[in-house]
């Protein structure tokens, strides 16, 4: 028996915040905890997914959830490393969806490939539709892209621990996407620069 419902981002954010509240004793503890947590996907999300494939009367220990958290991060790093190597060999700077699927194939996860290809195809179709919508709605789309672009830009120069801490401190209190979007949307120059680069990436990808 499977629970196939999908959850919204907002409830996830709420769930993520709750477990971290006990660690608000000191800022040092909070920072340290957030650093650790930032390396993993939220344990609530992981636990919810795990429950889909065990019987209703089955239980999952906390250390099992934590172990799976670590395994998933390792999976992401493992696949990302393979995809990144491929991009470097082909002298491309941007890892795209096809690179991820290629890496997953190379690393032996054959069963994942067809579902993911279908998923990526659907994603492109829907995103493609969005690009053809009227100007007014297109500006909203540009805002969304701006958020993504700035996130890219923001991560490269701020490699220091302090900057990283600043970024990490945000998730427990407000939804990340919302915060970033509100803060950085006015920067039109940045938007143009990143948009230009985005176009280059897309063009290169099609070659």
């Amino acid at each position: 028996m499977e629970d196939e419902s999908h959850n919204n981002t907002l409830p996830n954010g709420f769930n993520t915040g709750s477990p971290e509240s006990p660690f608000l004793k000191t800022s040092t503890t909070t920072t340290q905890h957030n650093k650790e947590q930032d390396r993993f996907l939220p344990i609530a999300n992981v636990g919810r997914i795990m429950k889909k494939v065990i019987p209703p009367n089955g239980k999952i220990s906390k250390d099992a959830k934590e172990t799976v958290q670590e395994c998933v991060s390792e999976f992401i790093s493992f696949v990302t490393g393979e995809a990144s190597d491929k991009c470097q060999r082909e002298k491309r700077k941007t890892i795209n969806g096809d690179d991820v699927i290629w890496a997953i194939t190379t690393l032996g996860f054959e069963d994942y490939v067809e579902p993911l290809k279908t998923y990526l195809q659907k994603y492109k179709e829907i995103e493609g539709e969005k690009l053809s919508i009227p100007k007014q709605m297109r500006s909203e789309q540009r805002l969304q892209q701006h958020h993504n672009n700035y996130h890219d830009q923001n991560n490269q120069p701020f490699n220091g621990a302090y900057a990283s801490s600043n970024l990490i401190s945000q998730p427990p209190y407000v939804p990340t996407d919302q915060k970033f979007s509100l803060t950085f949307s006015p920067n039109s120059i940045q938007s143009q620069l990143r948009q230009q680069d985005q176009i280059d990436s897309v063009g290169h990808w099609y070659e």
Partner: protein, 237 residues
């Protein structure tokens, strides 16, 4: 019997060394789950039969255990097939890419932990969200199989360790699971010979790595029963 157990030690080192090489080179590419596992089961079953010339009582016990275990593995295969079928069906229904079961920003941050990673397109974390969900589901399904083998209703860390050691594509996770959790897998090494999912050669190394704890062996009668068959199982493998 103790002597036989002790005589296994030299090969432990050798196999362990092989494990290191195998892990580093990562040569094995597992095929589709539905095909090879079936043939593996048949092959292993045959080997088991021919390898039982002595000890009728022991043979019967082993065959009974093997039969039960094969049933469990068959059940796991069915569950995995159903799982992958449902993945296809589920993805066909997807129309909204805004709702993810995993936060994209966090996925992106984990990807960025690799210094070689420069830029990530918007679609990559979306694909990863789906891939990670499938990964969690498969790992949990295989882990739960071990939980049921031990007649428990709570999935524990050692169940995940067992799933990792039994599945080739999860080799990259071996370092994440501490050796403590591998001990249980050593004690349960008997069924390994009939494992359809993991290749016998790949399965062996992790079985040998951790030494059996004397106090554990002495503590439980059930555990005492298993080592009796260990030498034969090792010999066959």
């Amino acid at each position: 019997m103790d002597h036989q157990g002790h005589s296994q030690n030299p090969s432990m080192g050798v196999v362990g060394s092989g494990a290191q090489l195998a892990y580093g080179s990562n040569p094995y590419q597992p095929g589709q789950i539905t095909g090879p596992p079936g043939s593996v089961v048949t092959s292993v079953g045959t080997i088991q039969s021919t390898g039982q010339p002595a000890g009728a009582q022991l043979g019967q016990h082993q065959l009974a255990y093997q039969h039960i275990h094969q049933q469990q593995q068959h059940q796991l295969q069915q569950q995995l097939q159903q799982f992958w079928s449902s993945q296809y069906q589920e993805i066909e229904k997807v129309t909204d890419f805004k709702n993810h079961s995993l936060p994209l920003a966090r996925i992106k941050k984990i990807m960025k932990a690799d210094e070689d990673v420069r830029m990530i397109s918007a679609e990559a974390p979306v694909i990863f969200a789906r891939a990670c969900e499938m990964f969690i589901l498969e790992l949990t399904l295989r882990s739960w199989n071990h939980t049921e083998e031990n007649k428990r209703r709570t999935l524990q860390k050692n169940d995940i360790a067992a799933a990792i050691t039994r599945t080739d594509i999860f080799d990259f996770l071996v370092d994440i699971v501490p050796r403590e959790d591998l001990k249980d897998e050593v004690l349960a090494s008997i069924p390994r010979g009939t494992m359809p999912v993991a290749g016998p050669a790949d399965a062996l190394p992790y079985c040998y790595m951790p030494p059996q704890h004397p106090s554990q062996v002495g503590a439980a009668g059930v555990i005492m029963g298993k080592p009796v068959m260990d030498p034969n199982m090792y010999a066959q493998q």
